[in-house]
């Protein structure tokens, strides 16, 4: 019935954990920006986890979410591009909650990046399983049905609205079937009151309740400064489905990409036809646009972004080399659009920003700050965001995130 009885594979080692929270909403209940979806959240969390990891070591990526934007079409290609991982990296999209994340982690081979993303409340976190860090061992698993909330393939949601039923016959009845000899140090996927009832010590508030909650819990445990030599038990819950895992001793590098929350800006939308897309143009631009790669002229060294047939500097039409662009950016000029624009939410700010000392400028939208709140000369960095949804196709690229003194440091 429980995994600990039936499997005894090698422990996976959690080397690094990264977290990301959108800056909008309340402290523990964030809202995704208009330019964010589960794909961009995955990329932000994944990049945080990989800050201390050589990308060449990543051999497999597992995305766990119930909010991925596309059922058909490719979320994975955008995630790999945003993470800067090779297109031949093994990747799978798992529909699941916090217990599915524990499954992915405890069974992970070295070189696996597991990412969980949620859009309501919004947040994402990722763990890189390497050859060092802290061991994570599965210690219990049960899958039962208590579908108090359902969402079908068309996004239609139904809520049975009986919290006592799910508490008693969902969580409670499932817990009764698991090994309870070890106290639970952290519970993911439970609201505050329920978390308190199952945790041995005062539970830490987690910002999300879906798959990413298991990874936020891992980050919290790793940061707590665990007693030497002691393992800690983690409970992951989704309705009546539970997973247990034990985190052994060892250092985990935790990187948080989290800013102080601010009110969601108000905006107006204009009715009217939405933006069309040329998928031929989309495909030609994909790598340069999602991987932020410029073309360097082999003759004169001039960088062109986007890549072009004829060199901006010397007119050479010889092949070029792909070069990653710096992401630190400074605003050269900008404008804030207040007038309603069909398919977009106004106001929004467009900036022309210069990237590092590359001499390359990009025209991108402002993100993570209220429209009009930045000026010429302000500094920041480019981050992976949703530029638009065009004819049903999420169109990803980069946006300018201004520097902010509310960054949470690990």
């Amino acid at each position: 019935m429980t995994r600990s009885n039936t499997t005894a594979g090698p422990d996976s080692m959690i080397t690094a954990v990264g977290t990301y929270l959108p800056p909008w909403g309340a402290a523990r209940r964030r809202t995704p920006g208009l330019d964010e979806d589960a794909v961009t959240l995955c990329v932000a969390a994944g990049l945080a986890a990989l800050r201390s990891v050589d990308p060449a070591d990543v051999g497999r990526v597992v995305l766990v979410s119930r909010d991925l934007p596309l059922i058909e079409g490719s979320n994975s290609a955008a995630v790999l591009a945003g993470l800067g991982l090779r297109a031949d990296t093994e990747i799978c999209e798992v529909i699941g909650g916090a217990p599915a994340v524990l499954d992915a982690l405890t069974g992970a081979a070295p070189g696996t990046l597991v990412i969980g993303a949620d859009t309501s409340p919004a947040g994402a976190a990722a763990a890189y399983c390497g050859t060092s860090g802290a061991a994570l061992t599965a210690s219990g698993r049960i899958t039962r049905s208590m579908p108090v909330v359902t969402r079908d393939a068309f996004g239609r949601r139904a809520d049975y609205a009986d919290p006592r039923l799910v508490r008693v016959r969902g969580l409670g009845a499932s817990l009764d079937q698991l090994d309870r000899s070890v106290p639970i140090a952290a519970a993911a996927g439970l609201a505050g009151r329920d978390a308190k009832s199952v945790c041995a010590t005062e539970p830490r508030d987690l910002p999300t309740e879906g798959p990413s909650a298991a990874l936020f819990a891992l980050a919290t445990l790793a940061e707590l400064g665990r007693p030497a030599g002691q393992m800690q038990r983690l409970l992951a819950v989704e309705q009546a489905t539970l997973g247990l895992a034990d985190l052994g001793p060892g250092e985990i590098n935790v990187q948080r990409d989290e800013r102080a929350p601010r009110p969601v800006p108000s905006g107006t939308t204009a009715p009217g036809s939405e933006m069309s897309i040329s998928l031929a143009a989309y495909e030609r631009a994909f790598d340069a646009k999602l991987r932020l790669v410029a073309a360097r002229c082999r003759r004169c060294g001039t960088l062109a972004y986007p890549h072009r047939y004829r060199c901006l500097g010397c007119g050479s039409e010889d092949p070029t080399d792909a070069v990653a662009l710096p992401r630190d950016a400074e605003i050269y000029t900008l404008s804030t659009i207040h007038v309603p624009v069909p398919g977009l939410v106004s106001p929004y700010t467009i900036v022309v920003a210069e990237l590092g000392d590359s001499g390359v400028r990009v025209t991108v939208r402002l993100t993570g700050a209220a429209a009009g709140s930045v000026g010429i000369g302000d500094r920041g960095r480019l981050v992976f965001r949703l530029v638009a949804v065009r004819s049903g196709v999420p169109d990803y690229g980069y946006a300018f995130l201004p520097d902010d003194d509310t960054e949470v440091t690990a």
């Binding site: 009715p271 009217g272 933006m275 986007p306 404008s335 207040h338 069909p342 400028r361 010429i376």
Partner: protein, 387 residues
Amino acid sequence: MRRVAMVGAGMTQFGELFHLGIKDMLPMAVGEAVASVDKGFDRGDIGAAWFGELVSTDGFASGILADSCGLLDIPVSHLENACATGNDAVRHGVMAIASGMYDVVLVVGADKVRETSTRTTFWDWMGMTRDSAWDFPLGLVAPANFALHVNRYLHESPATREHMAMVAVKNHRHGVSNPKAQLRFEITIEQVLNAPMVVEPFGLFDCTPQSDGAAAVILVAEDVVDRYTDRPVWVRGVGLGVDRVMHAHKRDMTTFPPTVKAAKQAYAMAGVGPGDIDVAECHDCFTGVELINYEDLGFCERFGAHKLVEAGETSVGGRIPVNPSGGLKAKGHPPGATGVAQCVELFEQLRGDASNQVDGARVALAHNIGGPTAVSAVTILGTARGG
């Protein structure tokens, strides 16, 4: 090269001409141009016609001009060069005559911006001038293209939003006496500064209205000019300049290099300099753009435009009146028609017939800038035949 004269010019009212189709507006403008020819004009003399239209309304553009204006027996070509379409169409007419190929050419410009709901046409118009994968999905609407320039300009130069407002006040004042103008009312600096923001730094009164309209000019070779008039206006110079299309590739956004290039060509061809210009119609789609135009056209030194407008030097009565017609700001801006209509205004100015006459005007300049600020056309007209 043969010298080229303008012997007739006419235009429709500019405005929201919901009651007129493109097939009504074209013959109206052509008819007024024909009627303005002093010694009379037989349409059978026209050797070829050029039609500048940014967005085709009711289909096949050159066919519609030929069909609606009775020009079925001559070559008719459609030309599109963003907001520089009008003055570029004039330039094509000039080349056709100067080359010796035709003696008489009709140049028409028109657009029917208000033919469809702004909501449905919005992305269609955007898609024409933005890269599909890169700039288009950002929502880089037309005012934003110019706002990116003007914000940087305000950052580097002493000019302020008040100076921009002075341009709006001046052009509205100029437009009051123009019976063809769309917005014939005066406004105050306070109204401009307090108007709702459209695209920073442009408030509502910093922006041109959306307009329908058509304009036409008749160009003839020097050899035949006496048949039509004793007081022709000579096309002394034409120029067209371009620039990189994406804003990220423009190194200095406080200037429009296409204007500098087009003006340089036109001045050289005309054998005149900025100091010789008595009156100008320049592309004031947004107020701050007119300030940058002063510098790019050489009317003042770099970052000196604010002084010109402060001192009233570009008002009628000043040293170099700009946009006596009201400009795009008050007269209106049907893109294909705009440049041609500038020439209509300057034709009247140079013949002393303008509704807002600049006394003693002898040399005049028309200017367009458009297409994500990547194309400009300049035309220089004069009362003297030139060298």
